[in-house]
C-alpha cells in the first residue's frame, strides 16, 4: 500500500505523468520528456520521501508516548516539544536567521522544552505520581513556549516576518530537500531503533510502574530512554516540516485498531499508516487547488473527523 501511495503521489501534480510512464522510466531509464527526471527527482521525490519519513516517525513517536504514559489520548506534543520548536523557529525567523539557522533553532528548542519538563518534574515531583508530574510539567513548559510564540508574532515585522512565522507554524513539506533529509534521517534512526528494541518493555509498562517493576523492568531508565528517543524523532522532523499535529495522536489509534496493542506490531503498523496518511494528505495539500493549502490546516480538517470515527468504533472494542 505504501508503494502504491508513493507511485500515485509521484504521478500527481502540475506536470502530468501516468503510472505506466513512471514505471517505464524507473525500470528502463527511458523518459518520454526531458523534464521528467528534474520534476521527479528534484521536486516530487524529496517531498514524497519527506512525507513518508515525517508521517511514519511522528506516528511511531506518538505510539511510544502513548505506551509510556499508558494513555491513548497522548500525542508527541505532550512534553512541549512542538511548542518549544515553534518558539525556536519564530525566534530565528524574527532574528532573520538562514533556513539552516531556523531549523537548528527549532530542533534545539524542541529538545530543550522536553528536557526542561523532565528536569522540572524531577525537582518538584519527588514524592508524587511521577507520570502525572511529568505531564503537568510538560503542559507548563508548553504553555510558556506558546506564550513566547505569541510574543514573537506580536513583535515580528508584520509585512515580512509574521507571514513566515505563521506559515512555519502551520507546517509544510514543500521545501524539503534531499540534503535536509540526509541530515535528519540518521537522527530519526537514532531515535527509532531503541524504541523498536524496547517494544516489549513498553507493553509490560501498560500495567503501571509498580507492576512493571515487579515484573523486572527498570521503569525509570526505560522512561528516560523512550522520552529522549521520541523527542529526538519529533524535534528532527518538526524542524524540517514545521508543526504537524494530529498524526502522532490518531495514527497510533488506527494502527492499534488494525493490529492490536502489542508494540512489536503496533510500531511498524504505525509507521506505515502514518506514512500513507501523510502522503495522501500532502497530495491533497499540493494538488487540490492551484494554491497550496497549508498542511497543518488540512491535517486538522481531515484528522479531527477521522479521530471521531475511530473513537466511535473503538468504544465497541474497549481500549
Amino acid at each position: 500500500m505504501l508503494i502504491a501511495s508513493v507511485l500515485f503521489s509521484a504521478c500527481l501534480g502540475r506536470y502530468p505523468l501516468s503510472v505506466s510512464d513512471l514505471l517505464r522510466y524507473l525500470f528502463s531509464g527511458q523518459s518520454i520528456d526531458a523534464a521528467l527526471p528534474t520534476v521527479l527527482l528534484n521536486v516530487r521525490l524529496p517531498r514524497i520521501v519527506g512525507a513518508v519519513i515525517v508521517g511514519g516517525v511522528l506516528a511511531i513517536a506518538g505510539a511510544a508516548y502513548q505506551g509510556l504514559f499508558r494513555n491513548p489520548m497522548v500525542s508527541p506534543d505532550i512534553l512541549g516539544v512542538s511548542s518549544g520548536a515553534g518558539f525556536g523557529a519564530s525566534l530565528a525567523i524574527t532574528l532573520s536567521f538562514s533556513l539552516l539557522g531556523i531549523q537548528l533553532m527549532a530542533f534545539s528548542f524542541g529538545l530543550l522544552s522536553v528536557f526542561l519538563a523532565l528536569f522540572v518534574s524531577r525537582i518538584i515531583g519527588k514524592n508524587h505520581d511521577k507520570i502525572l508530574m511529568l505531564v503537568l510539567s510538560g503542559m507548563v513548559t508548553g504553555a510558556i513556549f506558546n506564550a513566547l510564540i505569541s510574543l514573537m508574532k506580536y513583535i515580528a515585522d508584520s509585512d515580512t516576518k509574521l507571514p513566515d512565522i505563521t506559515f512555519w507554524l502551520m507546517g509544510s513539506l514543500s521545501s524539503i530537500t534531499f540534503d535536509e533529509l540526509k541530515v535528519v534521517l540518521p537522527l530519526v534512526l537514532l531515535g527509532t531503533v531503541p524504541i523498536f528494541l524496547l517494544g516489549w518493555k513498553l507493553n509490560v509498562l501498560s500495567f503501571g510502574d509498580e507492576e512493571a517493576k515487579a515484573l523486572g523492568v527498570n521503569t525509570g531508565r526505560l522512561r528516560v530512554i523512550v522520552i529522549c528517543c521520541a523527542s529526538l524523532i519529533t524535534a528532527s522532523v518538526v524542524c524540517i516540516a514545521g508543526l504537524i499535529g494530529w498524526v502522532g495522536l490518531i495514527v497510533p489509534h488506527f494502527a492499534r485498531f488494525l493490529v492490536g496493542p502489542n508494540h512489536k506490531y503496533l510500531l511498524p503498523a504505525s509507521f506505515f499508516s502514518g506514512s500513507i496518511f501523510m502522503l495522501l494528505v500532502d497530495d491533497v495539500a499540493r494538488s487540490a487547488t492551484s494554491l497550496e493549502i497549508p498542511l497543518g490546516i488540512l491535517i486538522s480538517l481531515i484528522g479531527a473527523p477521522l479521530f471521531l470515527v475511530f473513537l466511535s468504533k473503538s468504544t465497541k472494542k474497549s481500549w
Partner: protein, 260 residues
Amino acid sequence: MMKLEIKDGVFGYPNKAILSDINFELNTGEIVCVLGKNGAGKTTLFKSMLGVLKPLSGSILLNGKPIEHWNRPQFARLVGYIPQARSLPFPFTVMDVVLFGRTAHMSAFGSPGKKDRILAEECLELLNITHLKNRTFTQLSGGEQQLVIIARALAQQPSFLVMDEPTSSLDFGNQIKIIRQVNALRNNSLGIIMATHSPDHAFMCDARVAIVHEGKMWKTGNANDIISEEILKEVYGVDVKVRSLGDKSECNRLVCVPTV
C-alpha cells in the same frame, strides 16, 4: 531453601512512617497471611518488600543480600507480585498478559520466544483457564482477571509470591478456588505472603499469621495459636466467635463466625 527477611524495618513515606519496628521472615514452602484493618499498612509493607517503596530505615534481605543490591530482572526472577487493583489502558490478550511474566527472563531488548509461549500455556493450563487464551484481558470478569494475573506470576517462575488481597472483589466460589491454588503453590515449595480480610483464609491455608496493627507487626505465629476472639475484637472492633467444626466434619479446622 530461600529466605526473604526484614530487619528493624521502618516503612512509609518521607515525613510519615506508617510501619515501624518490623522484623519478619518468609521462607519457601510456607504461607503467611497478613491481617489488619483497612489502612493498617499491609500494602505499604508489600511495596517495601518488593523494593518499590524505599524503607525509611532497616533492611530487607533476599537470601541474605539487601534487595537494593539486586537488579530488577534478578529480583523479579525470585519474587513475583500479585497486586490489589489494576487498570490496563490497552486491550492486550490474555496470552500477552501471561507472557509479560516472562520479561525478567528475557534479554534487555528481547521479546518472548517459543519456549516462553509454551511455558505460558502451561501456566494457563495449571489454572484451568486455557479457554481464555485469546480473549481480551480488559473484557474478562474480575475473577478471570485475577486468575490470569496469577498465571502471569507463575510464568515468572518465582520462589516467592507477594499477594495483595488476591481474593478481594471475587465471588465466593472464585475465592475458594484462589485459596486452593495458593495451597497448591505452597506444596510446590513457593513462599507466599498474602494480605487478606478474611481470618478464615488463614485457617484454610494452615498459614502463619502476621497481624499488622497500630503501626507495628503486632502478633505473629500459627493461625491456630494467634487468631482468637479477643484479638479479632481488638483488631477489627467487632465480636467474633472462633469455633472448631469438630474432628468428624469434613472441614476439620477453626472458623470465624461474627455475631450480628
